[in-house]
Symmetry: C2
Subunit: 344 residues, 2 copies
DNA sequence: TTGAAAGCGTTACCAG
DNA sequence: CTGGTAACGCTTTCAA
């Protein structure tokens, strides 16, 4: 098989299509945009497009019309299933609107977020969706000046930059503590909240501490271990350390189902029965929580739904920018629920 | 907190920066590109940019220079950790080159891939990375005509469109069969390969069948269940069916660690010990395979490495396009290895 | 329903 | 080292 001599010449332009169809560029443009044109013309143009394999240049269109079809999304980690689910939810809502996602992975690093925001801004996105409410000052200034609508996801900051779609990680964690306390557990530990960069993890830790205190229980059985994103392998050593320091612990709450899974594995290795000898709870309702043995008691958060609602907020914001007096609430609260399973 | 009256006026342009710095647009352009300019001028321009919060318009730059900094990547599923790892590997190599990823999720649907390819082509990407070698005719034509270099990942087709970075899923599966046979297992089953759209899954099934036949063993203990992406929940019912139909099975090979995990859970539920009563092997070396109990014997594939090598292939292709006579092999073979663990 | 001309904001190219 | 001018490929706007 010989490599083709590259038919690269130069890709066809709209003017080429126009010439072949015997019409003006404008008519081609109109046909492509689905605007008024006689059926006959339309057909001729379509045929010319097909024959030449014409693909319109988005940059030229954007420059000329002054608007792109980009929506920027920044998540801390694409490999966390909850964030990729959020991206799926966003896609589901935005794609039918003809919007395209510009996806970025901040790796939980505020500086990286700043770099990415600057980079995406160069593409004139119609809207930007960020994860969390923690941003560098430069990022805030950048966003402010750009005038691009911003949605913050996965949290409910007191003062969103613009809009927010999420829930209180503090409250969610408190609810889990109450669930465990209701079950009769008193000596409850916490695994996670290690990274200062993962605000949501820290908030869950804070929720644990606040509620334990409110219940008059000891809130110091905390092992902060492992960087975000939280993976399964973090759970085992953290659990080991916790058992080392507080052997009489009755229940352990983990910052994520991932670490809860690792913790359970560690218990099995030590011959501890879950939940008979020690109860373990997770957070996030990842697939594994329902599949492993014992199944993991967790807090279920609709990650895909966060994406959908964010998508809706974006669509509303764009409509509003188009002058249509649409009002979208600045904050959209997402439900979460404690899901009782076998492990706690 | 009152909403700002939108300082949207109109974002600053390069000409605004030029005026404020007292130089021409061209000088601003040069400074931004890091090209020759006296230190004094450079500093004045930088200050003006800073003061105005100027962000260059990528579309205008692309139109003018005739080149973007986009690289398009299409994966079947962003929520599969192996593909998001590949994306990470790509990012690691391409970002330092000033290239930006345009990420798309085909959902294992060839038609969707075609739509996405067309959409990405509108943005004039410098290169396109696809997953697998199965594409619609229209997709191939589209790519061919565009003249954009293409890298196919995760497979090694006989005739790549342009370049390929991957491995033979057939061979990898055969190797796992040999491993199991060497361990003394004879009645070996296979779980997966259900979706006609997941070529890699089908290839693993084919590898199983070929090698079983080569070894003179019965290759019919196959349960094809569950659509791609393969999730944990697919494993349990598939395992149940297999045990129902062939109760004397000694070992089971799964199309993915995800289904292997589900299968193991099903065994535990039935009181079957793994591997004493039945051995189970996975594919992919996902994190769970090393963390669960028993740990899962699997085929390790360097997903991140596929991304890196693809990134390198892309960089080479771009250099070649720039006239630099760089030669990059059309096919890059990625290693895989059977990882013996507890489950088989 | 269709067409011609005028830009959109940047960079390439050539002068100075 | 710096500046003017002419594109880049499309859509807007205005006429016909």
């Amino acid at each position: 098989m010989s490599r083709m001599p590259a038919p690269k010449a130069t890709p066809p332009r709209m003017s080429d299509v126009a010439r072949l169809a015997g019409v003006s560029k404008m008519t081609v443009s109109r046909v492509m945009a689905g605007r008024s044109a006689s059926e006959a013309t339309r057909e001729r143009v379509r045929r010319a497009i097909e024959e030449l394999g014409y693909v319109a240049d988005a940059a030229a269109g954007a420059l000329s019309s002054g608007r792109t079809s980009f929506v920027a999304v920044l998540v801390p980690s694409l490999s966390s299933s909850n964030f990729s689910d959020t991206v799926s939810g966003l896609t589901a809502v935005l794609e039918p609107q003809g919007l395209e996602l510009l996806i970025g992975d901040t790796d939980y690093l505020p500086d990286r977020e700043e770099r990415l925001v600057r980079q995406m801004l160069r593409h004139q996105p119609r809207c930007i969706a960020l994860t969390g409410a923690q941003h560098t000052d430069a990022t805030r200034t950048l966003l402010q000046r750009s005038g691009v609508p911003v949605v913050e996801m996965w949290d409910l900051p007191a003062e969103p930059i613009d809009m927010a779609v999420g829930f209180s990680n503090v409250s969610a964690a408190r609810e889990m503590v109450r669930y465990l306390a209701d079950k009769g557990y008193r000596r409850i530990g916490f695994l996670g909240g290690a990274s200062e960069l993962d605000r949501r993890g820290l908030d869950r830790l804070k929720g644990y501490q606040l509620e334990m205190k409110a219940l008059g229980l000891d809130k110091h059985r905390v092992v902060r271990l492992g960087e975000s994103p939280v993976t399964m392998s973090h759970g085992a050593p953290a659990m080991a350390e916790l058992l080392e320091r507080w052997p009489d612990t009755q229940a352990v709450m983990c910052v994520s189902d991932m670490s809860a899974f690792g913790a359970i594995m560690e218990c099995q290795r030590r011959g501890l029965r879950v939940p008979d000898d020690i109860a373990i709870a997770g957070f996030g309702n990842f697939e594994i929580a329902a599949c492993c043995h014992p199944t993991i008691t967790t807090v279920s958060v609709d990650a895909y739904g966060i994406g959908q609602r964010t998508g809706e907020a974006i669509v509303a914001a764009l409509a509003a920018a188009d002058g249509e007096r649409a009002t979208h609430p600045a904050k959209t609260r997402i439900d979460y629920t404690v899901v009782p399973r076998e492990s706690a």
